[in-house]
Chain length 120, copies 2
DNA sequence: CAGAATCCTCCAAGATACTG
DNA sequence: CAGTATCTTGGAGGATTCTG
């Protein structure tokens, strides 16, 4: 370990992103927070642009981290429902704060980007 | 726009991740917050494992978003210093909250993962 | 309905070498 | 010292097909 920032396995900053910093995780968590209990296809329709494979992968990762609970009803056709766990719910406020910051600052950031491009 | 979650350009959730959800941005922001004004090579050494190219790319993106200020001193050899802007500083508390959550929950998450793997 | 399996594309990220 | 300029690659993500 070179220093306190370079230890990938145990650096909390790095680990945050490896858990929820991928393309779909925060979006799925936010939807489950807003909509509550949802079936696979309901989440699928809510996002619209996600593929079945990526939704499946994302849900599996969130389930393995204990952020989402998967309930299988043994009926035909299958009925599988997803909802946030207690741990998942505890993450929601932080996501909302981040989203709130992004909403507040997005226009200014877009302006900064335009200025930056004109100077390049 | 299919619904409120699927509009990639204007969805704040998606935009948060596109800005700071890449591999190095949050780490660089955190280091600049803790260490204050730093030269290019000082950041490079602080992280250790990042390549010059990725550090350059990351700093440029943060600068273009107005999160980091770049000061060039016209001397030889070159001296370039980086520090957080006001906007960059306003993001720090949210990052810290997220990191705090990750630190608190990381052991439990690792346990969940092990259990999940044993059942698969 | 809820996915698994397969194949494919593309780009973030890395390695290396060079420079004002 | 503080970067570019190229080249390369692993793997996230996507498209399509199949199934209990």
């Amino acid at each position: 370990m070179l220093n306190k920032y370079s230890d990938i396995e145990n650096c909390p900053i790095r680990n945050v992103l490896n858990h929820i910093g991928n393309k779909w995780s925060m979006l799925v968590l936010s939807i489950l927070d807003e909509e509550g209990l949802l079936r696979f296809n309901e989440i699928h329709k809510a996002i619209g642009s996600i593929s079945q494979k990526m939704l499946s992968t994302t849900l599996k990762r969130l389930e393995s981290d204990g952020l989402v609970k998967r309930k299988v009803h043994p009926v035909i056709p299958p009925r599988v429902e997803y909802e946030l766990t207690k741990r998942g719910k505890s993450l929601i406020p932080h996501i909302k704060n981040l989203v709130g910051w992004a909403v507040e600052n997005f226009n200014d950031i877009k302006d900064s980007r335009l200025k930056f491009e004109r100077l390049s």
